[in-house]
């Protein structure tokens, strides 16, 4: 049995928390709670980044931790809460697949993700060995959430959570992406959320609901 340092244990704990939060989001039907969970996930991510920055002493990781905190814990959740209040969507309707089914599918995905991460984990010399599997799981679970939800709002949270997974993966595999890329991604996410916010208002104005099955009528009919 290998002995793990405190740092490594803390990092693994963060990773585990991220995965747990992903599952929580997958099962959560209240939109407000979903956004809160997303904020918590962001906080854990910021903590993990900070930990890594402290350990490696890389200056830009501090910056990226601060960015994560500002953007994913404070600004985006605030924006989403505001949207929820103004659009009055507090609950998602019954998901397409029931919760237990979704959880089982999630389990299968996590196993798959870990199998996938194995060859990479063997190669990497960084301290974050188990993290890559978790990062892939977070991405795939968020994707699964987007598939099973009906409301546009939940899908946006899924999209954002997916970005968290990508971020965590990049960080654990190679101590973060270059600063330029990271800033670019952060900006992209910000813009995407703003654009989607505008879209929500448009969709609601058009269909008087944010339920996405109304968009089916946009399909071309024979």
């Amino acid at each position: 049995m290998t002995h793990l340092s405190l740092y490594q244990q803390l990092l693994d704990a963060c990773a585990a928390l991220l995965l747990l939060l992903s599952f929580a989001m997958l099962s959560q039907r209240r939109v407000v709670t979903l956004v809160n969970l997303y904020a918590v996930q962001g906080a854990v991510l910021a903590a993990a980044t900070l930990l890594l920055a402290w350990r490696t002493g890389e200056g830009h990781l501090y910056l990226s931790a601060a960015l994560t905190l500002a953007l994913k814990v404070a600004f985006l959740p605030w924006l989403l809460h505001r949207l929820i209040r103004r659009l009055e969507v507090y609950w998602d309707t019954e998901p397409l697949l029931n919760v237990s089914g979704t959880m089982l599918a999630g389990l299968v995905i996590v196993v798959f993700a870990f199998a996938l991460a194995q060859p990479i984990t063997r190669l990497t010399s960084t301290a974050t060995r188990s993290a890559i599997g978790i990062a892939v799981s977070v991405v795939l679970l968020a994707f699964l959430m987007m598939i099973t939800r009906r409301k546009a709002m939940s899908q946006v949270v899924g999209f954002l959570s997916m970005e968290n997974g990508v971020f965590f993966g990049a960080m654990s595999a190679s101590y973060g992406m270059p600063m330029v890329v990271e800033l670019g991604v952060a900006l992209d996410v910000l813009v995407a959320v703003l654009v989607l916010g505008v879209f929500f208002f448009q969709i609601r104005e058009r269909f008087e609901s944010l339920d996405l099955h109304h968009l089916e009528s946009l399909k071309e009919h024979e």
């Binding site: 199998a115 996938l116 946009l218």
Partner: protein
């Protein structure tokens, strides 16, 4: 130097087009200034190209245009020069006419039209001087797209949009074949310059494949049966100057491409390749002229006549290849000469006729032959100038149509010297078909001219018809003069074209007669033709007759009602109609047409006669293909569910599968 001049002129066309956008709604700017300026550039281009043709040299230039690392190779040689002369000279006349023709009103504003029109011209020029497959295909596509927008000028009418779509579809089917053909032609060198293609050594099978692909690709653009279906739809839909440009010039760029690939890029041709264009060409002649004979829409009639003429040109290409592949160089040169000559002729006479119909359309608002008639009294300029085009396209001496058909028939006469059994017996039968086509073309033109211009006006509204404006007259006159000149001075034209036959075949047509006015182009046979002699003799006979009649005529004029067989009052509607004139052909060749007819019952108080003639080819080939494509598309459309979850699931599944593949490997 000449090449640089040509490029400058093409750029000038583009500049004129862009200048049209300055004041897009101004008819005065585009019509009175930009289009005539474009015509001047056209004449200048024709002059430069003619100089290059007489010089007979080859110029090359590499211009760093387009994608980085893929500069445009340009080249001016005798073959491109001939077609540049054709482009410049015909488009000059058409542009002058267009300056007076386009007016503000429905559809595309004149400034935008000016841009599309000049872009179309410039892209055709670029097709002709391109020396690598990239520039060629880019120019080819720009040509197709700009002409598409010109066709759908009146885009508010659904039938015009659907005609435009059909044109675009056929253009793209053809372009795909060309793409594949060039792909084969590079022969594994992956160099797409024409120089590399000339140097490439293809196995016989691949060379034949490249040739056949090019035949389909260029045939679709030229209107070779069975790929001609877009012509009768697109030409009536387009404004007349555009129809003239498409029929007169654009179809010839396809001929140019066919000659370029078949006789230049592929190296010495194999004789049996020529059988494909020969047979298709003969079929096209017959098919086109039959359908022209039964049309009642004047522009549709001309479109089918273009199909017929393209058939003549492709027959010439086929003969050239058969002869050249069999080592009969002098005869091959004669056939090639006939082909090129017919291209020049057709570009002048068909432009003239299309523009003439444009004037008629403007003056009367009518395309239907059944509502026209007697316009020679109202529109003498248009009528007399169109008469020249009509006589020329009917192949009557001393006009130009006769010369090229005569040359083609002369070259047919050598087919019995071919060293291939059966072929040397069957090809002469094709000659009979060409002759029949020429005769029927005469019949079609009598119908065209007679019904529109002669007789009495069939509608009262025709009394208001007015002659065309002065710019239109200048344009028409230029084209009519072109027809006359090409007909009266064939020897000079043939001498100029000798550079091309020397370039492609390695032989020139000999001139057996020492006289400058006597054409004796056939090696070893005592045949000759002197158009000026013919003209003099004809004029002499006509003048003598007129003079003789005047002399002996009793000068007493008695005006009275014409005898009407005791039938009651004669009305203009009792004249022979377009339907009636075409009836014998319709009856004789019934099996070619799909006829839908409504005949009135004998006791009907308000009798109504309606006939619709369609091409069987739609039911036989195009509708099954379209049906299959639609079924396939509907099957594929099941993937499109309209639900975001399903779309996300597609991405998710793709991601998982890709990851799994990565995991396995």
């Amino acid at each position: 130097m000449l090449l640089v001049g040509c490029i400058a002129l093409l750029l000038g066309w583009m500049g004129i087009g862009l200048a049209g956008l300055l004041r897009p709604r101004s008819v005065a700017l585009t019509g009175r200034f930009l289009f005539p300026l474009g015509a001047l550039l056209g004449f200048a281009l024709a002059g430069l190209a003619a100089a290059s043709l007489v010089g007979g040299g080859i110029e090359r230039l590499i211009v760093p245009l387009g994608l980085p690392g893929l500069p445009a190779h340009l080249r001016l040689d005798p073959l491109s020069s001939v077609f540049l002369v054709l482009l410049g000279a015909s488009s000059g006349g058409i542009s002058l006419f267009a300056g007076g023709y386009f007016r503000a009103g429905e559809g595309t504003p004149p400034g935008l039209l000016c841009l599309q029109y000049h872009l179309f011209l410039a892209s055709m020029g670029l097709v002709l001087i391109a020396d690598d497959a990239y520039s060629f295909l880019v120019a080819w596509e720009v040509m197709a797209l700009s002409s598409y927008f010109l066709v759908v000028t009146q885009h508010r009418m659904a039938e015009i949009r659907s005609a435009g779509f059909l044109y675009l579809l056929m253009a793209h089917v053809g372009a795909i074949c060309l793409l594949l053909s060039f792909g084969v032609l590079q022969g594994g060198s992956w160099q797409f310059t024409f120089a590399a293609m000339r140097a490439a050594h293809l196995s016989p099978g691949w060379a034949a494949a490249a040739f056949m692909l090019a035949l389909v690709g260029f045939g679709a653009k030229a209107g070779l049966v069975p790929l001609h279906v877009w012509l009768p739809e697109a030409h009536p839909a387009a404004p007349s100057p555009v129809s003239a440009l498409m029929s007169g010039v654009m179809l010839k760029t396809a001929v140019y491409g066919m000659l370029r690939v078949g006789l230049d890029l592929l190296g010495p041709p194999v004789w049996w390749w020529g059988l494909a264009p020969l047979i298709l060409g003969l079929l096209t002649i017959f098919y086109g002229v039959l359908f022209a004979a039964v049309q009642t829409d004047m522009k549709r009639l001309l479109a089918y006549s273009s199909v017929e003429n393209i058939g003549i040109v492709f027959t010439g290409i086929g003969l050239t290849i058969v002869f050249a592949g069999s080592g009969m160089k002098a005869v091959a040169a004669l056939a090639l000469l006939a082909t090129l000559y017919h291209c020049l002729n057709h570009s002048f006479m068909k432009s003239l006729l299309f523009l003439g119909t444009g004037s008629v359309l403007h003056a009367t608002g009518e395309r239907n032959l059944g509502r026209l008639g007697g316009l020679i009294h109202r529109m003498p300029w248009v009528a007399w100038l169109t008469l020249i085009g009509t006589l020329a396209i009917a192949g009557l001496p001393p006009l130009n149509g006769f010369v090229s058909e005569w040359l083609l028939l002369q070259s047919f006469l050598f087919a019995d010297h071919l060293p291939h059994a059966f072929v040397n017996l069957l090809i002469p039968m094709g000659m009979a078909l060409v002759a029949l086509g020429a005769a029927l073309a005469g019949y079609v033109m009598v119908k065209f001219y007679g019904v529109i211009f002669l007789g009495q006006p069939r509608e009262a509204s025709l009394a208001q018809a007015h002659d065309c404006g002065w710019l239109e007259r200048v344009g028409l006159t230029w084209l009519a003069l072109g027809c006359l000149a090409l007909g009266l001075f064939p020897l000079q034209v043939i001498n100029a074209l000798g550079a091309v036959t020397r370039q492609l075949i390695g032989a020139a047509v000999p001139q057996a007669s020492p006289h400058w006015w006597l054409l004796a182009p056939v090696p070893g046979r005592p045949v000759s033709y002197g158009p000026l002699v013919f003209l003099t003799a004809t004029l002499a006979v006509v003048l003598l007759t007129v003079f003789g009649v005047r002399l002996t005529y009793h000068q007493r004029v008695r005006r009275g009602p014409a005898w009407d067989c005791g039938f009651g009052a004669l009305t203009p509607r009792m004249q022979d109609t377009a339907e009636g004139f075409g009836q014998p052909i319709r009856h004789l060749f019934q099996s070619f047409f799909e006829i839908e007819r409504e005949l009135p019952a004998p006791a009907d108080r308000a009798p109504h006669y309606r006939i619709a003639i369609r091409e069987r080819i739609w039911k036989l080939a195009y509708e099954p293909i379209a049906g299959a494509v639609e079924r396939l598309a509907n099957t594929a459309a099941r993937v499109q569910q309209g639900r975001i979850s399903i779309y996300l699931l597609y991405s998710f599944a793709t991601l998982l599968v890709l990851l799994a593949v990565a995991l396995m490997s």
